[in-house]
Amino acid sequence: MTSMVARTAGAAWRRTDWRSWANGWTLGTMAIALAVMVPVIAVITLAFNPSDDIWRHLASTVLPMYIGTTLQLMVGVGIGTFMIGVGSAWLVTMCRFPGRRVFEWALLLPMAVPAYVIAYVYTDILEYAGPLQKGLREIFGWTGKSQYWFPEIRSLGGAVSMMTLVLYPYVYMLSRAAFLEQSVCVLEASRVLGRGPWRSFFSVALPLARPAIVIGVSLVLMETLNDFGTVDFFAVNTFTLGIFDVWLNMNNVAGAAQLASLLLLFVVALIFLERFSRRKQRFHHTTTKYKALPGYRLAGTIGALSFAACFIPVLLGFLLPSGVLAAYAVTYFEDAANPAVLAHAANSVMLSSLAAVLAVAVAIFMAYGVRIKGGKVLKAVARLASMGYAVPGSVLAVGVIVSLASLDNAVDGFFRETFGISTGLLFSGTIAAVTFGYLVRFLALSYGTVEASLSKVTPNMEGAARCLGHGPFSTMRRVHVPLIKSSVLTAAILVFVDCMKELPMTVILRPFNFQTLATFVHQYASDEQLGEASLAALAIVGTGILPVLFLSMAITRSRPGHGRQGEVS
């Protein structure tokens, strides 16, 4: 009898309260996801409904060059980040040599420097009129360019080097986590079976870490495709540059959209690669038994070489460029610290904060919706909505412009017909447009972080709150939010920092005469006025260090048994 009552009451509770709420969450999540996907859909739609036959024209002129250059860039950056990232991760994780503890986190530092910033700095140092070549000419008494050979920084090779230097931390981070996680136990097994550290690395450690390394490299390649500042400055004709060129210089939106959707094919391939590796990663878990790492002791020449192998990436990727910027900032302080720069900084902070708050709020809503409603469809929709991180900023910029333009036209048309007034361009070229672009691209960051921490809150807690009479919204506010607060903050900071660094979308979507730190640095440094832009660039790098700190803390905490307590087995 009592159980009957309970069951009926339970059913009623579920029907009246749960269902209607769940529908609200479902609809909301769907609506957000759809809105976020609109730019990409717009690009593809436009590409397949060309006003005139641009395909053939593109294919016969610039397309082969774009594809070739982009592929070369990807291969170069892929190999470079693989070598530096995996090599340094292995050294730092498995060996003991001077400076190892510092390198553990210092190797992440170059991540704070956007590729375009490092490109400006190195151009300044390495170009014909730069201090290095000048010095060489003075020492050897050369008078002209024809008397000696010096690598041209403004080249494909230069772009590969710049991107490698600041993107290898992705590979480093992921392969280090994999090395830490794969438990030294299988390595011991390999050693007692007669293979030394080197052979064990190639036959066991590397294959086991392969999924993680592939994820790292595919993230790097996504960033490579996203880059605009470097390729623009070095005039390396990649897809991204092509999109801008066709769009802004040839004034051909449809052509840009077509290039953009071709570029999306590259992206789809990368996403597939990444997802596939993530799935594979689960099967490569070795054992739950953890022990202290072996710590091969490297001394003498080998120790010095290991030190150099870790120090050079940090030096070239972070210390040197930020040192040069700092020196410039001191020398040109009066030019660099003018009120206009402060205004740009305020713009940057305002835009980035807006996007961060929005991205986190949307992420919480979506993650919670998926959680209470579950269901395959909703999960798939949420996943699609968080694919923006893979889409290059140039593609999103085209998509946002195109979709907002049609929205503006529709609104304008409606008001014209109904009220006889023209609303003009309501959204295009506004802060809202930039923020929307940021949201689309960085939602994955906030969604991933929030979802991960939400999944750690057990359903039991939720059940307890619900049984105590709280509805889903109240449960979220009183149980989940307090529990996931720190992750929410992390998510906000991650989005904030990436928005501060973002260049390609900001350049295009910003309102007329509106500068952020990134666009300002881009504009000035492109005009060879790095001195004036030094303080602004330094500010971007400074903000970028924040997530690096988070990451380095998280990575040392990630492995059970890692650290001092693991030394006795």
Binding site: C185, E188, S569
Partner: protein, 367 residues
């Protein structure tokens, strides 16, 4: 022959172990925390002793005074870990041949096909480790270690992470390994029934030291070691041979030291040599030969030694041709006035001798 004399400090736990292991299976037995796994890691070269010497068949693996410390990959010791530690990215075949391929053909003393047959690995050569059961994984791990043609095989509680049925499934394979692979084995365990079943030589570890070593029979008949081997498990071990089968009642007759022992049916051919453990708590004593009693095994003997520590019970070492331990109450000890030198009759119920108390020696098993 393996000769070990090493010391190492782990925090405030000092380990100083000295023992030798001849051919056959040497069991290192001890409670958890006795230093078993640490010792085996020191032998394998995964950790470094503070001092001492490790030598096998004249090859020095470690010598602190001479500054010799071979890295693990140069020691040629096979190591079977507690958890199989198979390489998840390789097939079973890949795992098996991993160590073998490095060994020049002239140094290989294990034949691939023989090992695969012995461990019955053929059905899953192409499979990935994740598709194998715990017992199957452990068999692959044994095969992998064996095929590297080691000078000695180290086994660190290879059955500890398996449930009882899996354990019984794999024990015969280890017995075959011991009898057929012609390789000294050092086997670490805290399970006495495994040790009794498998070991030739027993080394008892306690608090980082080897406190006793000798044949299983010798060690198990020492009353002073009872606290280390576990009171509940106390019981003498001796060798016996199958001499007859009683088909009418389903019994098997075993012979030892001029006596006969009846046990529930063992499907083994006559002549099979066995190791028998009779738990002390399964042995009763009588001053006169009892009549009209269901107990089938009655052995005349003489009390050799009495171990009593003031508790309610006492263990007595009785010589019945081999040492036998009997556990009686202190009350009985008092009322029967049991003293060393006194003649007694030891009573052993046939049904008390169960399968885990029997280990097979030297002949092929078909169970």
């Amino acid at each position: 022959m393996l000769e070990v004399d090493i010391s190492r400090r782990f925090g405030d736990f000092p380990l100083h172990v000295r023992f030798t292991a001849e051919t056959g299976l040497t069991a290192l037995f001890g409670r958890s925390g006795a230093g078993k796994t640490s010792l085996i890691n020191l032998l394998a070269g995964l950790e470094r002793p503070d001092g001492g010497r490790i030598e096998i068949d004249g090859h020095v693996l470690f010598d602190a005074s001479e500054g010799v410390d071979l890295p693990p990959q140069k020691r040629r010791l096979g190591y079977v870990f507690q958890e199989s530690r198979l390489f998840p990215h390789m097939s079973v075949l890949g795992n098996l041949s991993y160590g073998m391929r490095l060994r020049p053909a002239s140094e290989r003393h294990q034949d691939f096909h023989q090992v695969v047959d012995m461990l019955d690995l053929k059905p899953f050569l192409d499979r990935r480790p994740k598709t194998l059961s715990g017992g199957e994984k452990q068999r692959v791990a044994i095969g992998r270690a064996l095929l590297a043609s080691p000078r000695l095989l180290l086994m660190d509680e290879p059955l500890a992470s398996l449930d009882a049925p899996r354990k019984n499934e794999i024990l015969p394979f280890i017995e075959r390994l011991r009898d057929e692979a012609n390789l000294p084995i050092v086997y670490v365990s805290h399970a006495l029934d495994e040790v009794i079943r498998l070991a030739d030589t027993l080394v008892i570890l306690s608090e980082g030291r080897a406190v006793a070593s000798g044949s299983v029979e010798q060690i198990m008949s020492r009353l002073d070691l009872r606290p280390l081997t576990g009171r509940y498990e106390t019981g003498a071990v001796f060798s016996a041979a199958v001499v007859a089968q009683d088909d009418t009642f389903g019994l098997t007759e075993l012979a030892f030291a001029g006596n006969r022992l009846l046990v529930p049916r063992l499907r083994m051919p006559e002549g099979t040599s066995l190791r028998v453990r009779i738990r002390a708590r399964d042995v009763s004593l009588s001053l006169t030969p009892p009549a009209d009693i269901s107990v089938l095994n009655i052995f005349p003997g003489r009390i050799e030694e009495i171990g009593a520590d003031g508790g309610p019970q006492a263990d007595l070492l009785v010589d019945i041709g081999v040492p036998l331990i009997a556990r009686v109450t202190r009350k009985s000890l008092h009322e029967l006035d049991l003293k060393p030198g006194k003649k007694v009759y030891a009573l052993v119920k046939a049904v008390a001798v169960d399968r885990p108390s029997l280990g097979q020696r030297g002949t092929e098993i078909r169970s």
